[in-house]
C-alpha cells in the first residue's frame, strides 16, 4: 500500500513538472516583456521580478511607434477575423442543412469536395488568386483576404455543423414537415436554435484560425496600413539584433485575443478539437 502511494506521488510529481515546463515559455515571455532588457541580461528572468523596475515601455513602444504600429495590426485583425467568421458561419449553416436534411443527386460528390477542401494545403491556391486579385483590384485589400478566409472556413464549418445537425432528433423535423413548415422555417426556427453551442464552437475556432493566420496575410496584404497583427509581430524581429523586450511584448499582444477567448470558452475549443478523435 505504501509503495502504491509513493508511486502515485512520483507520477504526480513528474506530470506536474512537465506541465510547468510547458507553462514556462509563456511565463518567460510575459516576464521579459515587462522587465527592462538590461536587467534580463544581467539577472535573468526566472525569478521574482523587482516590482519597482516593472515597465510597460515595451508595450507602448510596440503599439504606438509608427515603425511597428501593432495597434493598427490589432484593429485590422479584429476586422478581418470577425467578418471572416460571420460570412462562412452563415454560408456553412445553409450548406450543412442541405447535407443533413435534403436529398439531391450531387450530394455525395459535393460532400466529398467539402472534405477534400478541408485538408488541402493553403499553398495550392495562392498563385491563381494572386493573378485574379491583381486583375480585380482585390490585391492588398482587406475585402480580398476576407473573401479568401471565408471560403476556406465554409468547408470545415459545413462538415462540423453537418455532424451537429445530425444530432437533432429526426422526429422534430418530420413533425414540422407534416405541419407544412417549409425547409427555410425548419432551418431558422428548429435547426439553428438547437445548434447554438455548435455555432459558438465553430465561430470560436474559425475566428482563432483567421486571427492566427500568417501565410495568406503575407501573400495578400502588403501595405503597412492593411497588415494584420501576425505580420506586424514578425517584423518586430530585426535582421541581426533581436530586442527581446519588444518582441515578447508584441507576442503577448498578438496572442492576447485567442488566449482570452480560450480562457472564457475553454470547453468549446477542446470539444472542437476532440471531435477529431471520436467517431460520431
Amino acid at each position: 500500500m505504501r509503495g502504491k502511494l509513493l508511486r502515485t506521488m512520483l507520477i504526480n510529481l513528474i506530470v506536474w513538472t512537465l506541465a510547468l515546463a510547458w507553462a514556462l515559455p509563456y511565463i518567460g515571455v510575459v516576464a521579459v516583456s515587462a522587465m527592462p532588457y538590461k536587467e534580463v541580461v544581467t539577472e535573468g528572468w526566472l525569478r521574482i521580478p523587482n516590482v519597482d523596475s516593472l515597465t510597460l515601455r515595451n508595450y507602448i513602444e510596440a503599439l504606438t511607434n509608427p515603425l511597428y504600429d501593432l495597434a493598427t495590426g490589432y484593429r485590422n485583425s479584429l476586422i478581418v477575423a470577425s467578418i471572416s467568421t460571420l460570412i462562412p458561419l452563415i454560408a456553412a449553416a445553409l450548406a450543412a442543412y442541405a447535407f443533413s436534411n435534403l436529398d439531391f443527386r450531387l450530394k455525395p460528390l459535393l460532400f466529398g469536395l467539402v472534405l477534400v477542401i478541408m485538408m488541402v494545403p493553403q499553398q495550392l491556391t495562392v498563385v491563381p488568386l494572386f493573378f485574379l486579385y491583381r486583375n480585380l483590384g482585390l490585391y492588398d485589400t482587406m475585402q480580398g483576404i476576407i473573401l479568401l478566409h471565408s471560403a476556406w472556413g465554409i468547408a470545415w464549418i459545413t462538415f462540423f455543423l453537418r455532424n451537429y445537425f445530425k444530432f437533432i432528433p429526426r422526429s422534430l423535423i418530420e413533425a414540422a414537415r407534416v405541419d407544412g413548415a417549409s425547409d427555410f422555417r425548419i432551418f431558422s426556427k428548429i435547426v439553428l436554435p438547437l445548434s447554438v453551442p455548435g455555432l459558438i464552437a465553430a465561430a470560436l475556432l474559425q475566428f482563432t484560425w483567421v486571427w492566427n493566420d500568417l501565410f495568406y496575410a503575407l501573400v495578400f496584404l502588403i501595405s503597412r496600413e492593411n497588415q494584420v497583427i501576425t505580420q506586424k509581430v514578425v517584423m518586430l524581429k530585426g535582421e541581426y539584433h533581436i530586442d527581446w523586450g519588444l518582441l515578447t511584448a508584441g507576442s503577448v499582444i498578438s496572442m492576447s485575443m485567442p488566449v482570452i477567448l480560450y480562457a472564457v470558452f475553454n470547453k468549446y475549443f477542446m470539444k472542437g478539437v476532440a471531435a477529431w478523435g471520436v467517431k460520431r
Binding site: 502515485t8 507520477i11 506530470v15 506536474w16 506541465a19 510547458w22 507553462a23 515559455p25 518567460g28 541580461v41 526566472l46 454560408a91 456553412a92 445553409l94 450548406a95 442543412y97 442541405a98 435534403l102 439531391f104 459535393l110 477534400v116 477542401i117 485538408m119 488541402v120 494545403p121 499553398q123 495550392l124 491556391t125 495562392v126 498563385v127 491563381p128 488568386l129 494572386f130 471560403a151 476556406w152 462538415f159 425547409d183 432551418f187 492566427n212 501565410f215 503575407l218 501576425t230 509581430v233 514578425v234 533581436i242 527581446w244 518582441l247 507576442s251 496572442m255 485567442p258 488566449v259 477567448l261 475549443f269 477542446m270 478539437v273 476532440a274 471531435a275 477529431w276 478523435g277 471520436v278
Partner: protein, 296 residues
C-alpha cells in the same frame, strides 16, 4: 413540386458553393495549370518541375545531392525529418499523458488546459517563443546545458545549422502536444471504466493495462493523430518563418517556405505553383486516409 425542390436547393447551396468555387476550387485547378506553364516558350511542359527539383541553391533546394551529417539537406528532407521525429514523440507522449492524467493525477484538467494553450496561440508566436527558449542569452534550454557543462549546446540553437532544425522540431512538440492529448483523452472517455477496473481486479499492472487494454482500443484515434500530425509537419510554415526564416544557410528550410520564397523573393510564380503541387501530391495519401475516416 420539382421546381420547388430546385429553388430550395439553390437557396441552401448557391451561396456557399459559389464562394468555394471561386476562391478554392478554381485556384486549385489553375495552380496545376500554371505549374505546367513554361514562361519562356508559352507551352505546357514539365520544365518548372525539373528546375525546382534540381535547384541546389540552399534557399530553394528540395533534396540535397550530397549527404552531410548536418543540415541543410533540402526542404523535403527537412519536412521528412520533422515527421520522423515529431510524430512518434507526439503519439507516445500524448498517449502516456492522456492515460496518466485520466487515471492517476489530481488536477488533470488544469494540466490539459496548459498543454492545449500551444494550439491556441498563433503559430507565429509559437515560432518566436521557440527561438526565445533556445536563445543563448535569455533562453532556458542553453542555460540548462551550460549548467550541465555541455558547451556544444549552450549557445543559440537557431543560429547554427547543426542544431537549428532540431530546436524547431522539439519546439513544435511543445506547440502541438495539446492536439494529441485532447484527442486521446476524448477517445479514452469512450472506454468503459469497467474494463479498467476488471483488469485491476485481476491484478494487472499499470503498464499492462496501458499496453493491453488502452492502446488497442485507441487504435483509430492513434491513426488520426498520426496522420493529422504528419500533415501539419509537411505543411508547416509560420513556425519556421517566424523563428529562423529557413536559415541559417537554408538549414531549416521547408517545402511551404520554398514555395513562398519562389513567390515573394524570386517572383517566379510558375515555379512557386510547381512547388505547391509537389507539396500537395506528397500530402495526398494522408488526405485520402483522413477522408475515408471522416466519411463513415
Amino acid at each position: 413540386m420539382r421546381l420547388n425542390k430546385q429553388i430550395r436547393l439553390i437557396f441552401f447551396l448557391l451561396f456557399p458553393f459559389t464562394l468555394l468555387t471561386i476562391f478554392v476550387v478554381y485556384p486549385i485547378v489553375a495552380t496545376v495549370y500554371y505549374s505546367l506553364y513554361d514562361k519562356n516558350t508559352g507551352s505546357l511542359n514539365l520544365n518548372n518541375y525539373i528546375d525546382v527539383i534540381s535547384s541546389i541553391n540552399p534557399i530553394y533546394m528540395l533534396v540535397s545531392r550530397s549527404f552531410t551529417p548536418t543540415p541543410p539537406w533540402g526542404a523535403l528532407i527537412h519536412n521528412l525529418a520533422w515527421v520522423l521525429i515529431h510524430v512518434p514523440l507526439t503519439i507516445l507522449l500524448g498517449l502516456i499523458l492522456a492515460f496518466i492524467l485520466k487515471y492517476y493525477v489530481k488536477g488533470s484538467a488544469l494540466i490539459r488546459t496548459i498543454i492545449f494553450l500551444g494550439m491556441v496561440v498563433p503559430p507565429v508566436v509559437g515560432g518566436l517563443i521557440i527561438r526565445f527558449m533556445f536563445d543563448g542569452v535569455v533562453g532556458i534550454i542553453p542555460a540548462i546545458f551550460s549548467f550541465m557543462g555541455i558547451e556544444a549546446l549552450s549557445k543559440t540553437w537557431t543560429n547554427y545549422p547543426s542544431t537549428a532544425l532540431y530546436a524547431l522540431i522539439l519546439g513544435s512538440l511543445w506547440i502541438w502536444l495539446g492536439f494529441s492529448i485532447t484527442v486521446f483523452s476524448a477517445a479514452l472517455e469512450n472506454i468503459p471504466r469497467s474494463h479498467i477496473d476488471a483488469a485491476r481486479v485481476f491484478g494487472a499492472s499499470m503498464r499492462h493495462i496501458f499496453l493491453k487494454v488502452i492502446v488497442p482500443q485507441l487504435r483509430p484515434a492513434i491513426v488520426i493523430v498520426t496522420v493529422m500530425t504528419a500533415l501539419w509537419d509537411m505543411k508547416i510554415f509560420d513556425v519556421v518563418y517566424a523563428s529562423t526564416g529557413g536559415g541559417p544557410g537554408g538549414s531549416t528550410s521547408v517545402l511551404a517556405l520554398v514555395m513562398y520564397s519562389y513567390f515573394a523573393r524570386a517572383l517566379d510564380y510558375y515555379k512557386s505553383a510547381a512547388v505547391a503541387v509537389i507539396l500537395a501530391l506528397i500530402v495526398a495519401p494522408f488526405i485520402v486516409i483522413v477522408m475515408r475516416w471522416l466519411k463513415d
